[in-house]
């Protein structure tokens, strides 16, 4: 399964990973549809940035970054399924 994916697309979109991050972001912030995910890929490394409204930053970071780390852990799993290594960052929604 991952062979096919690897063969296919060095720069293909890790859809499931992006969708999972979007899902988690939406579930954690108050209003649906307010989060946005940006990603870039270089080989098997995928960098994802979750943009959330500033007042909601705390909800995705959590005390001591616990929630942020939990998000990273789970997204890493989804990334592994798609054959990519993920890094997740969090940022305020751009004005």
């Amino acid at each position: 399964m991952s062979d096919e994916q690897d063969y296919n697309a060095v720069e293909s979109e890790p859809t499931q990973t992006i969708n999972l991050l979007t899902y988690l972001g939406n579930a954690l912030v108050s209003a649906d549809g307010e989060v946005e995910v940006e990603w870039s890929r270089s080989g098997s490394a995928v960098k994802l940035t979750l943009y959330v409204p500033s007042p909601d930053m705390g909800k995705v970071i959590g005390k001591g970054g616990r929630i942020a780390n939990a998000i990273r852990s789970l997204v890493r799993v989804a990334g592994a399924k798609e054959g990519v290594e993920t890094t997740v960052e969090f940022s305020d929604t751009r004005q």
């Binding site: 994916q5 296919n8 999972l20 616990r66 929630i67 939990a70 852990s73 789970l74 799993v77 592994a80």
Partner: protein, 313 residues
Amino acid sequence: MDWVETTGRTVEEAKEAALDVLGVDASEAVFEVLEEPKSGFLGLSKKAARVRARVRPTTPRAKDGRRETRRRQKGSDGAAKPDSEVTGAGEQLVEDGDAGTSARAAAVTGRSHQKPKARVRPQEPGDRARRSKGTVVEKGSEGQALSVVSEGPSRIELAGLAQHFLAGILGEMGLAGSVHVDSVDDESIELSILGDDLGVLIGPRGHVVSAIQELTRAIVQRSSEDSAGRVTVDVAGYRAKRVKALERFTTQLAQEVLESGEEKALEPMVSADRKIVHDTAAEIAGVGTRSEGYDPRRYVVIFRSDESPAESD
């Protein structure tokens, strides 16, 4: 929570899984299709089908008095592999007509595949699809959607929300499984995810299941008026096994402390695990425990004590 949420590669597969969990025939179940499977690229499933199901209510049942029976027996392999384990218990129970009781019984034991597929009667997806993600239907209130984002959701609703959240994770990750609310009370909500191929959701040393639990707790906390209480999520019986192992380990360590009189510090653990250590040691006469350090590197120390052990956390 009579509703179960399940995922599968196809809607049919998800329904089958739901029936396995409920332990009833398709004709006795009510389904909602929450999400159609999306197949991606090269037919690799990008998103699992997700359905929600419950036993079709036959007679109105009192809400109270149903809860104590809900606790799932831990470590039941039948429940972990609904597709492979055939016990027949569910089959017989459903014949008495009290679908509600049998559903819970069967959820523990798993179920055979003898049900006629032709009798699957899905509810119109359109009707259900209108409901937003954050809603949950409570049993007993026939088809009436209660919004969980309304003020002061009940504990049951919070548990439903958590269940929904977890099923969503399965769906997004394209994993087949089912999500169960094992118990709900004022102090805690216990959920579990069961399925065949969920190793990735456990992760090395349970790292991933801890992350899932952390997120679920955050979701519940966000929606509850006051404290979320304890929220635990188990995946494929992992935690249940780990609790046992930790209890054994603690007991062994406590014996060593008793013999040597020397304190022993355990490795840093999350609060839930520390509680297991505290609780286990509290049962052993002559030892006490205390926690030291700060999260996430807080750890328990077991020491010899003649006083009654004081708990800290």
